[in-house]
């Protein structure tokens, strides 16, 4: 991951800028290892909103199937680095996590650390 980050400093910078603006945080306070859910406290709707901002900043569309890859800031940067390469390889991640297909809930008793309600949906 790190080698790809070094190759694409402008992608990294734009991701940090976009995330910092959305999260209202100083981009310097963000780390590649930060988990969108567990460290930044994003629930599934907020993750979708963040992806929306990233799509806008990078002028591309991120399909539902790729949501599963976007777990950390570093993963987002890696994903965008690959998507924006001229020879860009198409990525297919594990199970998607948009609202329609958000991760299956776990019983409250077994709930893992989360600062906000995360990855659930109601329609």
């Amino acid at each position: 991951m790190k080698s790809s980050l070094k190759k694409s400093p402008e992608i990294r910078q734009l991701v940090y800028h976009t995330l910092g603006k959305y999260l209202r945080l100083d981009p310097n306070a963000l780390n590649p290892e930060d988990s969108l859910r567990d460290d930044l406290g994003l629930d599934s709707l907020q993750t979708i909103e963040l992806v929306y901002e990233v799509e806008s900043a990078f002028d591309l569309q991120i399909p539902d199937e790729d949501f599963g890859r976007l777990t950390t800031i570093g993963a987002v940067i890696l994903y965008l680095d690959e998507r924006t390469r001229p020879e860009g390889t198409s990525l297919s991640g594990p199970q998607a996590t948009p609202l329609a297909t958000a991760t299956r809930p776990t019983p409250l008793a077994k709930k893992t650390k989360s600062r906000t309600p995360s990855k659930k949906s109601r329609t």
């Binding site: 809930p105 109601r122 329609t123």
Partner: protein, 417 residues
């Protein structure tokens, strides 16, 4: 003692039938009304992530000589007018003989007049001519345009409310209609639910929310698959459903045919998240228990559930979790079906259509099949759900609806005796 409330008339506009007989016939055959969206005018559909919906293609506006109101309102209210006209006719009510002040209207509406809303907005922004905004724009997009036009069309001068709780709107409208009769505010209430918002902007909004099915664009009839392992989001639908509710005394005096008795209602908030249900289903269970308590029946008496079942991974899971908390192992023996597998999610109409289905099942003892239940998801297993028609007497049925805004609502229907 509060009046007992009975259902005496039904009317519907749906993707699989624009009247009760054609809808019920199609539902029992497991006919799906989910099709590809042909176009949004100039918008190429390829730019939408989801491209399927439950569209009402058979609907025709009535002749102006029969109905001077439909041409003045948005599509959703046109649906409500048509469904209500059928329901009143079905009920045998002679409105000329009724006291108008004792007839109420409760309409459940999720999105409202979005068709005209989007059209006028586009016109204004493109033309920059405010004076070209249509004079009927405000009366059309005001959210109570359906309940208002129903009152005008049918001369109902009793309590008139619009309830907007997203996807649970019309369970609330029926529940509040029941309460109005219980409180002796009305003898008859037209309880309706309607939505028709498969429009460029609303559809794009649900796409952006990543709430819609996207994997079955080439196989629209397979897109809505509640409780199936392959489900990947809900399918938008449109339509309307109307039920005529009456006090038992009023219905008995005029020797009305009674489909079922409406005996219980509960409305709660999870106070949790605008679009995400509480994951353990505890608030759904609480709502079901409150509705059963209101009905004066025990969980052991329930033998049918018309599930909310939108075909989202988590929504279906949580609903079953909530039902299992109430019924335990007995849930395996309760008949369940998912009307949205046939017609998609009609938003504000969904609860009314689910209640219509339940009333018909109580009356006929026939449960419509749930389609696309090809690979049952073990996480939300429902042995009582079938891809085939089930024939069994239904004495007590539940109708569930849950909506954005952290809303839950449940109705309890009972065979009339």
């Amino acid at each position: 003692m509060a009046a007992r409330v009975v259902i005496t008339g039904l009317g519907i506009v749906s993707p699989i039938g624009t009247d009760i007989p054609s809808f019920w016939k199609a539902a029992l055959k497991g006919q799906t009304g989910i099709t590809a969206i042909s176009s949004f005018g100039d918008f190429p559909m390829e730019s939408y992530r989801s491209r399927v919906a439950g569209q009402v293609s058979a609907f025709r506006l009535p002749d102006p000589s029969e109905d001077k109101f439909s041409s003045r309102v948005d599509r959703y209210a046109q649906f409500a007018l048509a469904a209500t006209r059928e329901a009143i006719q079905d009920s045998g009510l002679d409105l000329e003989q009724e006291r108008a002040e004792r007839i109420g209207v409760m309409a459940g509406v999720g999105m409202g007049g979005m068709m005209m809303g989007e059209r006028e907005l586009t016109t204004l922004y493109q033309s920059h001519k405010p004076h070209r905004v249509h004079p009927n724009f405000i009366p059309t997009i005001t959210l109570n345009s359906a309940s208002g036009i129903l009152a005008l069309a049918f001369g109902a001068k009793g309590p008139n409310l619009t309830i907007s709780t997203a996807c649970s709107s019309s369970i609330h409208s029926i529940g509040q209609a029941m309460q109005a009769i219980r409180l002796n505010q009305a003898d008859v209430v037209i309880a309706s639910g309607a939505d028709a918002s498969i429009t460029p902007l609303v559809f794009a909004g649900f796409c952006s929310l990543r709430a819609l099915s996207t994997k079955y664009n080439d196989h629209p009839d397979q897109a809505s698959r509640p409780f199936d392992r392959g489900r990947d989001g809900f399918v938008m639908g449109e339509g309307a459903g109307t039920l005529i509710l009456e006090s038992l005394g009023h219905a008995t005096r005029r020797k009305a045919r009674i489909y079922a008795e409406l005996v219980g209602y509960a409305a709660t908030s999870e106070a949790y998240h605008m679009v995400i249900p509480r994951e353990d289903g505890s608030d759904i269970a609480r709502t079901v228990n409150l509705a059963l308590k209101d009905a004066g029946v025990s969980p052991s008496q329930v033998d049918y559930v018309n599930a909310h079942a939108t075909s989202t991974v988590v929504g279906d899971d949580v609903e079953v979790r909530g039902l299992r908390a109430v019924f335990g192992k007995r849930l395996n023996t309760i008949m369940v079906n998912a009307t949205k597998s046939l017609i998609g999610h009609t938003l504000g109409a969904a609860g009314a259509i689910g209640t219509i289905v339940s009333a018909l099942s109580i009356q006929t003892g026939i449960i419509h099949p749930t389609v696309n239940y090809d690979d049952p998801d073990p996480h939300c297993a429902l042995p009582g759900l079938s891809t085939k028609v089930q024939k069994k007497s239904v004495r007590v049925g539940l109708v569930n609806a849950f909506g954005f805004g952290s809303n839950n609502a449940v109705l309890v229907l009972k065979k009339f005796s």
